[in-house]
């Protein structure tokens, strides 16, 4: 019991520390470009936190999460620009709608396992992307929503610049982490992890594995949808291109790089990959002048392979282990291991 309490306190301390960092950063970073990168990192973090619940804890893969991200963005975009619905209400509608869609689609899809499940979610992502491209009347087709999407606001506070949006996004990202943390340390979280550990044994203990997989799939879709809404109100213009297969793969890479079974992994993974992608945009043309956008997928592939070989538990776990062995050596300076 004492150890449990200590663990809980450690978790709370980490959250507090992280909150302080979040609030300090925008006062240190004054460059608008850097701030906008941080906003995107925050938005992606929300998606990847949900994806980690699905992949890291329940052990189920999704290669179609950009579709849910897109559903959220488009629900917000269309409802607010075409139908003048309040942005917050539109965000909620997107979240609920996407959750329901994910649950219903999940019923047939989650009869599959592993590679087959990966392929099915891939197909799902492609289908939703095609709908965004082809339903021209509703979505504006490949050229995107023509009408402007309004900024989010609370009372007279309008989130119309990077500085303000940074706080909004990161408070929500923090909330996403805290709520996911709650799930992980709950009856449902244990059930999900037990599915990952041994689905056979989980069922023998009365865990309705099918239902729990669907629930976490829907929950992770809701996370993606909220992030999509935030994206739409940040950029204020959306087209189908950021919601395709490439983005889905990017989310998976971010989750794997950060470490799947860690609720802090997403922040690290998203940061590393986003900063690297931005860096590549800068340096790749200098290195190979004729390189197009395709190099990105090559780089993601290489990262994924390297991480899987050298740190299969992801960056977070590797760092934690390094810290623990450092502390171990510090406490016992005379021993050599």
């Amino acid at each position: 019991m004492k150890d449990l309490l200590r663990q809980k306190r450690l978790r709370h301390a980490l959250i507090l520390l992280f909150t302080l960092i979040i609030f300090a950063v925008p006062f240190l970073v004054t460059n608008n470009y850097y701030l906008s990168v941080l906003v995107i990192i925050g938005i992606h973090t929300i998606v990847v936190v949900g994806l980690c619940l699905l992949m890291g804890y329940a052990g189920q893969i999704s290669l179609g999460h950009a579709a849910f991200y897109g559903l959220g963005a488009y629900t917000s975009g269309i409802l607010t620009s075409t139908y003048n619905v309040s942005p917050w209400l539109a965000m909620l509608a997107g979240a609920v709608g996407t959750g329901i869609i994910a649950y219903l689609i999940g019923i047939p899809i989650f009869r599959l396992k592993e590679h087959y499940l990966a392929l099915a979610t891939l197909g799902l992502g492609l289908i939703i992307h095609v709908v965004l491209m082809e339903e021209v009347e509703l979505t504006g087709g490949p050229s995107g929503l023509s009408k402007g999407i309004p900024y989010l606001s609370i009372g007279s506070l309008v989130f119309n610049n990077d500085f303000k949006y940074y706080f909004l996004v990161w408070i929500l990202a923090l909330l996403a982490v805290i709520l996911a943390n709650n799930v992980v340390h709950s009856r449902i979280g244990r059930a999900l992890r037990s599915i990952h550990g041994s689905e056979f044994a989980a069922q023998s203990l009365g865990v309705d594995t099918g239902r729990h997989k669907l629930q976490v799939f829907a929950l992770s879709a809701i996370y993606a949808s909220v992030a999509g809404s935030l994206y739409a109100h940040y950029i204020t213009f959306i087209s189908p291109s950021p919601f395709g297969l490439m983005t889905s793969v990017q989310f998976v890479v971010m989750a794997v790089v950060g470490g799947l079974a860690s609720i802090w992994g997403p922040i690290l993974g998203v940061s590393v990959i986003t900063v690297m992608a931005e860096g590549l945009k800068e340096f790749m043309p200098l290195l190979i002048p004729q390189a197009g956008g395709e190099y990105e997928i090559v780089v993601y592939g290489i990262i994924l392979v390297v991480i899987m070989i050298f740190m299969p538990d992801g960056l977070t776990a590797t760092l934690v282990k390094a810290y623990e062995s450092w502390r171990y050596r510090k406490e016992r300076p005379n021993e050599t291991s």
Partner: protein, 254 residues
């Protein structure tokens, strides 16, 4: 009324009858062993009883309810728990968390409660911890609670499976080769635990190869051979059954 009643149970995989026309019943409070040479269909029988796959023919009744072809998690919810011949520990969790999963059907927190854990959820959570620690104490693992389950030695992992299964508060506990791989002192400990569980009112069916232990602790035995029921009776009857001796030792005997 019998606690468990198996009638004319048959399971074929392709053309092979893994279990063929087996009937037997178990009363509340009994310790019954299912024995037989390798490949006799013992584990298949356990898998049928826990709904891992449906039988080709026949029925299984638990407390008078037909549980044939019920999915595994519903069988568990009715109060049948089991352990596995090949360990199925949740290696990604601590010892305590493994047992806490065993409390799944005895607690109710849903997804919403998991996301927003208000005090009813928290008080349920501490009850789960409390009763899980009790089960760990019973199986001698109390001081290992916070360790990663995968780091336990083999014998303790087997005990952990038992702790996890009884956390479910089953009426019927199925133990698949609980003594396999245990040394003699661990086997002794296992026997004590089985008696404790019986005294708590849990009915136990076990598959086991360690004949000395089986003959000592069971009230009754069911002997399988090539998927068929060869014999049924008390340890004394089985030990003196000519057919059983032949199946185990061959035609010549001693």
């Amino acid at each position: 009324m019998k606690l468990l009643e198996v009638t004319e149970l048959t399971k074929s995989f392709g053309g092979v009858h893994a279990v063929s026309n087996i009937s037997f019943s178990v009363s509340a409070g009994e310790i019954v062993a299912v024995i037989g040479p390798n490949g006799a269909g013992k584990t298949t029988l356990f898998n049928l009883m826990t709904g891992v796959y449906p039988p080709t023919h026949g029925h299984i009744y638990f407390k008078g309810t037909d549980i044939t072809s019920l999915p595994t998690h519903k069988v568990a919810a009715l109060g049948i728990a089991r352990t596995f011949q090949n360990l199925q520990i949740f290696n990604n969790m601590t010892v305590l968390e493994n047992v806490m999963v065993g409390r799944h059907i005895r607690s109710r927190t849903g997804l919403l409660g998991a996301v927003f854990p208000l005090w009813p959820v928290q008080s349920e959570e501490s009850k789960i911890v409390e009763s899980s620690l009790e089960k760990l104490a019973l199986t001698g693992l109390a001081d290992k609670a916070m360790e990663p389950a995968g780091s336990l030695p083999y014998g303790q992992q087997k005990m952990l499976e038992i702790a996890r299964a009884i956390a479910l508060e089953p009426e019927l506990l199925l133990l698949d080769e609980p003594a396999a791989g245990l040394n003699s002192s661990e086997t002794r400990e296992l026997v004590d635990i089985i008696y404790t569980l019986r005294d708590q009112g849990i009915t136990i069916i076990l598959v086991e190869h360690d004949m000395e232990t089986v003959m000592e602790i069971t009230d009754r035995l069911v002997v399988l051979n090539f998927g068929n029921k060869l014999a049924e009776g008390t340890p004394y009857e089985i030990q003196n059954n000519q057919e059983v001796i032949t199946a185990y030792l061959g035609e010549e005997g001693f």
